[in-house]
């Protein structure tokens, strides 16, 4: 798909994110907006080979695992608009009896979700298990995962990072959303993590960077490049710098919108900066 069309898709996803969290006055818009290009590239930009119908086993297709489950609004919007479930269902986000729980879950049977996430730091291990299953099944498809930078403060990640390199799990591409923010402030003030590239490399990963994770061209090119680096004996890490709240001027350059919904007026302003492209649900 050409870049302009992907950008239009992303703009609609941003509207979906904002409208989902506004309706229930809860949810996490900041990280969702920052990762809109990434999700669009995966599911619409030809990065992932995925089947239109959902099958939990995911044989003979690429798989994606969201580890930082709180950015569920962007995941739900992209899954719905990629045909996994009706777009209208976005109306039920975080409501009682909904399949669109606050954090993604398999429990309600929502197509497109393969594991629950929300309690942080668990997704890479699950992705590694799925990647090893692919190898056993002689399935040459890839496993993608997404992690927050703050999420890397959870120790389980480093168990997984060590395992992946030590066992040459080279059919996985783990992307870190480097937005430099977490709930209590910037990652630099909460718990400085130093040089992530050097850390992953020291553990034995092939590391590449996407300088602007909110530039569709860069995301497509970066992830395409990442795919060419698989199958060479090392797991692949993509450090993708994004702007939390990207696309809404007053939500950027702050951690304030990590887990806060806009009010009516703020929603109107935010939506005006992201005009409808594919039609609202």
């Amino acid at each position: 798909m050409e870049i302009k069309k992907l950008e239009d898709f992303a703009t609609q996803v941003r509207r979906d994110i904002l409208r989902q969290v506004h309706k229930v006055n809860s949810g996490h818009p900041g990280g969702s907006l920052g990762c809109t290009e990434f999700f669009t590239a995966l599911y619409q930009g030809g990065i992932m080979e995925h089947k239109p119908e959902f099958n939990m086993d995911g044989k003979d297709e690429d798989l994606f695992f969201l580890s930082n489950g709180h950015i569920s609004p962007v995941f739900y919007s992209v899954l719905a608009r990629s045909g996994y479930f009706p777009v209208d269902e976005l109306n039920t986000f975080r409501l009682i009896d909904s399949r669109l729980q606050g954090h993604p879950t398999t429990h309600e049977g929502l197509p497109g979700i393969r594991v629950a996430s929300g309690s942080l730091g668990q997704g890479m291990s699950v992705a590694l298990g799925a990647a090893q299953a692919k190898k056993l099944n002689k399935d040459s498809h890839l496993v993608f995962s997404l992690h927050g930078d703050g999420e890397l403060q959870e120790g389980q990640n480093w168990e997984a990072i060590m395992y992946a390199a030590g066992n040459k799990v080279d059919n996985i591409i783990s992307t870190v959303d480097v937005n430099g923010q977490q709930i209590d402030g910037s990652t630099e003030t909460v718990l400085p993590m130093g040089n992530l590239k050097a850390k992953f490399e020291a553990f034995g990963w092939d590391v590449m960077e996407i300088e602007d994770g909110n530039d569709m061209r860069q995301v497509i090119d970066g992830l395409t490049e990442a795919k060419t680096r698989t199958g060479k004996g090392k797991p692949v890490c993509v450090l993708m710098t994004t702007e939390m709240g990207n696309g809404v001027d007053f939500m950027m350059h702050t951690h304030a919108w990590h887990g806060k919904a806009p009010n009516d007026e703020q929603l109107e302003t935010a939506l005006s900066q992201n005009p409808e492209t594919l039609g609202d649900y």
Binding site: Q122, L128, A133
Partner: protein
């Protein structure tokens, strides 16, 4: 040792550890079920997994001393149709990784078999850091989790085979010491189905794990005193065989539960709840009394913490008086 009374004979065919029963079952699964894979966190020898590994090196994942990653990987391996058996000590298979099991396995409904050796105090000399007495409680509280605690080598092997056929997360609890091996070699293991060992009229004894052999010995001693005990081997703590328990206690009017676990959260509590709802009756709990364990031999620890046949005997006499 053979225990023979009331037309029934239980023969210890030679002391064996339940963990070896797990190892034997896993080896057999390696040959019969190509979807079975195994993971271990640096305790292959203790879990008796080496034969499986030798025969199926590609289907084994050594994760190192990293139990959280092991549980997550096990969850991921199910995506792709594998049936992962993740093995480590009970302490590290539950308390250390509770949230990983909760979110990535139980809540996600993954077909993972958590295989926990060295449970309870009979791990012995390593002491309380390694002797978990809370694991049944932790696991039975998770929605959808099946909890099994086997009593001897043969039953552990049979359970290992059975859980591979069961779709859904399972916690399989076994132990370190060599204990009497007295159940049938060719037994069919039915998850959730109690095994009636003796029919009796005066008191019900419901035991699980290593305490089942102790319960049989206690029943014999009670018999010598003219007391007839109904003895039930409960290998599955969740789902509990409620029918068997109610039927027995309706007949006897009182119950002793026996387990190598804290009285909080264990088999005894599950039985008490069942009876409170259906058929209230006096109950005595042979279990640890909200305490940690300590170093010692298994026999010394059973004695000190009141977990042997003598303790069951006393509890039975006490509970009969409370009727």
């Amino acid at each position: 040792m053979t225990i023979k009374f009331r037309m029934k004979t239980f023969t210890d065919t030679g002391k064996k550890d339940t963990r070896s029963g797990f190892g034997a079952g896993l080896t057999e699964l390696g040959r019969t079920n190509p979807n079975v894979v195994a993971l271990c966190a640096d305790l292959v020898g203790s879990l008796k997994m080496q034969d499986f590994i030798d025969e199926n090196p590609q289907r084994f994942f050594q994760v190192g001393i990293a139990e959280a990653n092991m549980m997550g990987m096990a969850a991921g391996l199910t995506i792709g149709g594998k049936i992962p058996f993740a093995g480590t000590f009970a302490n590290f298979a539950t308390g250390r990784v509770y949230d990983q099991i909760r979110q990535s396995i139980a809540y996600s409904g993954k077909n993972v078999k958590i295989c926990a050796s060295h449970s309870g105090v009979t791990l012995g000399e390593d002491g309380a850091t390694h002797q978990i007495l809370e694991d049944i409680g932790l696991m039975k509280m998770l929605p959808g989790m099946t909890v099994i605690n086997t009593c001897d080598f043969n039953q552990t092997k049979a359970a290992t085979l059975a859980i591979a056929e069961h779709e859904g997360p399972v916690y399989l609890r076994f132990g370190r010491p060599k204990v009497a091996n007295f159940t049938a070699e060719d037994q069919k293991f039915e998850i959730g189905k109690a095994v009636q060992l003796y029919e009796g009229e005066d008191v019900t004894i419901i035991a699980t794990g290593h305490l089942v052999w102790e319960a049989i010995q206690a029943a014999q001693k009670l018999s010598e005193k003219g007391i007839s005990a109904d003895v039930i081997n409960i290998h599955t703590i969740k789902p509990l065989d409620v029918k068997a328990i109610i039927k027995s206690v309706k007949k006897t009017g009182c119950v002793v539960t026996a387990e190598e676990h804290n009285f909080l959260g264990g088999l005894g509590e599950s039985v008490a709840r069942t009876l409170a709802e259906n058929n209230p009756a006096p109950q005595e709990f042979v279990a640890t009394q909200d305490t940690f364990g300590e170093s010692g031999t298994p026999e010394q620890l059973f004695e000190k913490y009141g977990l042997n046949s003598e303790a069951i005997l006393k509890a039975a006499e006490k509970v009969i008086k409370r009727k």
